[in-house]
Amino acid sequence: MEHHVTLDSQQITLPTSGLWPKLPAVGGVIGVVGLGLAFLLQGEDPQRLAFSYLTGFMFWVTIALGGLFFVILHYLARSGWSVVVRRLAEKVAATLPLFAILFLPIPLLFMHDLFHWSDAAAVAHDPLLQHKAPYLNIAFFNLRAVIYFAVWIGLMIYFNRASQKQDASADFGITARLNKRSAPCMILFGLTLNFAAVDWMMTLDPHWFSTIFGVYTFAGCVIAIFATLILMSLRLQRRGVLEGVVTGEHYHDMGKMLFGFVVFWAYIGFSQFMLIWYANIPEETIWFDHRWHNGWQPVSILLAVGHFAIPFFWLISQPAKRSRFAMTAGALWLLFMHYVDIYWLVMPTPVPSGDHHAMVAQAFQPAATDIACWLGIGGLFVAYLGHLLGQGSLVPKADPRLAESLTFESV
């Protein structure tokens, strides 16, 4: 069933009133003020700023990476229903170049505060770190980061350009070609995401390793993008945009994906925990030990309950997935829990402390710089996203499967 559909331009372009057109300015101000405050507030503790910055960075970059995943998955699965929200995901993914810039402070300023393995003196006394040095050294770490961003931005440009070209040409060949190329692209994405998660978060504790760590981070990415897409569509619809385009059927399906990946996250998180708990080898259990003491125990429990049990029952029913209120609350809550999850991964890292520079895991102690970095990076992300949303159509208006997506029924 291929037939041409025409949508009103009001339905598919950013509203000209309200907050949407002001996002670049508002987000920009919040971004600059937030990051400025973060540097002012760091006070005596520049190391804390490094961890705050990494937490904020990882929270927002996982949303953008989720967007890239959604776009590749859309073509890989030859999906029809998701055409109406794909452009939103493309725009979220298009913020990746911003993150390439926002990444810079990590190798330039925060390297030694974050990564114990980057300290030559520490490596000299540590046979294990010497053993890992061929991989864990600053030059190779930086090179890998360059490769990750090159791959991500390359993939994003490849898919987004083709999609935008189709707006004008309505060429089915583009969809067919992207369908075919999406498989190797997905492999590239999976590998780079996995290694990036290991590099940027797992090596904070360079003695510890978990082969499922990348998958765990990936689960967070997918939850984050579906929550973001649901919130973006719902907010846009309050202004009449996407009205009659994104319907209850699409929310139902996005809700199913969100629910499914909540369960997937729990499955992966528990798999990681159970194997380590069962084997009970000190070099592995220490990671969970850090997350069970010094104030972290409630956070760990909050994750199990708030990132799994509550959203599981909240999102399980059909009426909830079709209710604007339930989906808004569920998506907002899961984004908050995603932040808690990243915080829980990054913060309880052992850092040299005291007179003897013994490695002690950081206690649970929220700091002003945490919020400032979250706001700062988020502000810049929202500003750039707002700018991108203002350019062109919010729906791939000539996609050959748009008609199918518009009349989609979720069963």
Partner: protein, 171 residues
């Protein structure tokens, strides 16, 4: 009373009219799933999901109880220094039992709510009805429906676009 319709679209409109006419003991029969037919027929949401949830949770609970009983009560053996009731070790089996319970709930719920198994139905006495799994679309209205009346129902079905109408007897 069995009425045949030429295509899904007429069937859908006819269903909406049967629904609005207030019939209760009736059904629509198609060779393939027709989207939107449940709405046109005025069907409520299926309760199968409730069966799945309840049996799924019961399965998970039963899995946990069984392991608690075997590991902590019946055969308390110390394994790798863990407590007898080591719940994290029980979660995978609890999960599997939950999935099993949910699957059984889905099948049982479908059978119960669909009135199955049932080895015969009067409609199979109709020659035309054998085409329902091939290319024909039907609405059947039972004689036990309070609004049913041989003549007026016949005229009603005729009026909403039926191609052919026949009376199907119980034996």
């Amino acid at each position: 009373m069995l009425a045949e319709f030429p295509d899904p679209e007429t069937l859908m409109h006819a269903c909406a009219k049967v629904r609005d006419a207030g019939f209760t003991c009736w059904d629509a029969h198609t060779p393939f799933p027709v989207h939107g037919l449940d709405k046109a027929m005025g069907l409520k949401r299926s309760m199968v999901s409730a069966f799945v949830l309840i049996l799924g949770l019961s399965g998970a609970a039963a899995g946990m109880l069984l392991q608690y009983w075997t590991s902590a009560l019946a055969y308390p053996i110390v394994i790798s220094g863990k407590p007898f009731f080591s719940w994290p070790a029980f979660v995978p089996i609890m999960f599997e039992c939950g999935v099993l319970g949910g699957a059984i709930g889905a099948v049982l719920g479908m059978l119960l709510l669909g009135g199955l198994p049932r080895h015969h139905h009067a409609l199979f006495n109709s020659e035309a009805f054998s085409r329902v799994s091939d290319d024909a679309f039907f609405i059947s209205i039972e004689a036990q429906d309070p609004k049913y009346d041989a003549e007026t129902t016949h005229a009603f079905l005729d009026g909403i676009g039926a191609q052919a109408i026949e009376k199907v007897m119980e034996d």
